[in-house]
Amino acid sequence: MAWKRLVFIFAVGVPLLAVLAFGFTRDPREIPSPLIGRPAPSFSVRLTDGREVTLAALRGKVVFLNFWASWCPPCRAEARSLEASWQRHRGGDVAFLGINMQDREEAAREFLREFGVTYPNGIDGGNRIAIDYGVWGIPETFFLDRNGRITYKHIGALGAETIHAKLEEALQGVQSRREGKGEYQSIR
């Protein structure tokens, strides 16, 4: 009787503990994106220089689409690598586009000045573009191939190496199986 009870407790308790322990290894904030491999949602955004740009106009190029905010530390951390990557790839079949979200416009402009960002950046008022892309932690970056299909998504700060590798993959239309994750800041 005592043995039976002991076996029962173990049979129930050990799997329960295992499930709870497994839960500790997960990031509860993580939201797996259903967008990878799908056509990128189209949008039109006003740039900081006043021009209007649509995603459709960038068809035929690989697009590096980066959501950011000036108050987000990992965005600051990656800003220089992003600009360096832009300098390396500009002139090729690659377009860089930053989307500023949940921010004040002056703060965003100050950020761009501070890091000497030269690629175009749009202001996403009302976060409609961000919601359309399922953004939940910034910086969040999408790589689009020439046909406007999302090949890779990365949550958190990016390094120049990863950017280069993923741009090359996007140029060849190679789709990543998993999304990437680094140090990120949850949106507000």
Partner: protein, 418 residues
């Protein structure tokens, strides 16, 4: 007549139209708000995780509510809006996930739990009620009479066996309580019947056993059943004691470790939390380990790491002589003789006999500052300390060179660095 009637009807129509025109937007607004809340309350807020988009006050949830209102205005149905959010954030966004795939678990497990709990409760209740209405034991009439007489007689209980004495005592107390007015007549009758039956059964049982024992002979029986009952009980106590000791030991061992300040090293390290950098920075905070690792880094030529270790050693003990002396040697190598000298002085202030500091101080004075005489004095002090033969030979050779130079009055040259 007819004109007045049609006029009245016209008025009524005008009033009706006016009422509709003025109240319609308000009604539509409230209706829109309700429909928005209905959709939003089924969506999980991506910022706060455990609140719905309807309840969350985050900026993102506010914008999602605005988006829902816009889509409702465009004439989209609630299911379409839900599907839109699912297409962007996946099933994650639904507070009640669809009952398929993994989401099925969330629906099935609570149902199973409720069924199991209800089933268990029913089973237990039935078991209890069956015990309550169990048919009365067949009572040995002779034993019952004997018990009643024993209770009424009021004799001393000394002549009875302990079991018999306990039963009789209980019945007498019951009787006493009844007479003292603590029990109603009905309760008394019920309890008395129960106790008497039970006592009579026990008595009859005991007597039968006694008869069996007598029939078997005087030596055989009484120990056996007693021991069979006692053995598991002993084991139970031993197991419980062992478990308690083990539990206490585990608690004493793990608790102090797990309540240590975060980043101070934890029993699971970075396995559960993924805070590897924190752990690495905070690991091995004790002084000897830091010094040893610093020296190892120095020997390997990893100056940055070595400086890091010695700095941390100095955080633990701001006057640690070995750390100061080692930092001095590194500074000397890096071409900062003044700062190096300061480090050696700090080391010597705490420990005037520190060999590393004496050696380094001499080196700075001789090689970089050109104060050969002072260097010679410092190294002579070093030779008075206990150092290895190899070091002593090295010091002696460089000392000989310095003395030569001192005698020749020549300025010191840049030596090959050790």
């Amino acid at each position: 007549m007819s004109t007045s009637r049609s006029g009245r009807a016209g008025w009524a129509l005008a009033v009706l139209v006016a009422v509709l025109v003025f109240t319609a937007p308000a009604v539509a607004g409230e209706d829109l708000e309700d429909r928005m809340r209905e959709v939003a309350s089924g969506l999980r807020c991506p910022v706060c995780q455990n609140l719905s988009v309807a309840d969350s006050s985050s900026e993102m949830a506010r914008e999602m509510r605005a988006l829902i209102v816009d889509q409702l205005r465009e004439g989209k149905r609630p299911e379409e809006i839900r599907d839109y959010f699912v297409s962007k954030y996946g099933q994650w966004i639904l507070l009640s996930p669809a009952p398929r795939g993994v989401g099925l678990v969330v629906w099935i497990v609570p149902t199973l739990g409720a069924v199991a709990g209800l089933g268990g409760a029913v089973w237990l209740l039935r078991r209890w009620s069956r015990r309550g209405t169990a048919p009365p034991l067949p009572v040995d009439a002779a034993a019952l009479t004997w018990i009643r007489e024993a209770v009424q007689a009021g004799d001393s209980l000394a002549a009875l066996t302990p079991e018999e004495a306990r039963q009789v005592e209980a019945l007498r107390e019951l009787q006493f309580d009844y007479r003292a007015g603590k029990l109603s007549a009905q309760d008394y009758e019920e309890l008395r019947a129960l106790y008497e039956t039970r006592a009579a059964a026990a008595l009859a049982d005991a007597r039968r056993q006694r008869r069996e024992v007598e029939a078997l002979g005087p030596v055989a029986a009484p120990a056996a059943p007693a021991r069979r009952g006692a053995a598991p009980r002993v084991w139970r106590w031993v197991t419980a004691a062992l478990f308690l000791v083990g539990f206490g030991a585990a608690l004493g061992y793990f608790l102090p470790q797990s309540v240590r300040a975060r980043g101070d090293g934890s029993p699971t390290g970075d396995f559960l939390t993924g805070t590897r950098e924190e752990a690495a920075r905070a690991e091995a905070p004790d002084l000897p380990v830091l010094l040893q690792r610093g020296r190892q880094a120095m020997d390997a030529g990893e100056w940055d790491r070595a400086i890091g270790f010695f700095r941390r050693a100095l955080e633990a003990d701001p006057d640690e002589p070995t750390a100061h002396a080692s930092l001095g040697l590194i500074l000397h190598r890096a071409g900062h003789p003044d700062r190096a000298l300061k480090s050696f002085e700090r080391a010597l202030a705490r420990d005037p006999t520190s060999p590393a500091a004496l050696w380094g101080k001499g080196l700075v004075l001789y090689e970089s500052l050109g104060k050969t005489a002072e260097a010679v004095r410092t190294w002579e002090a070093l030779l008075a300390q206990e150092i290895s033969k190899e070091d002593r030979d090295h010091v002696l050779s460089i000392l000989a060179e310095a003395r030569q130079r001192l005698a020749a009055g020549a300025p010191p040259v840049e030596r090959l660095r050790r």
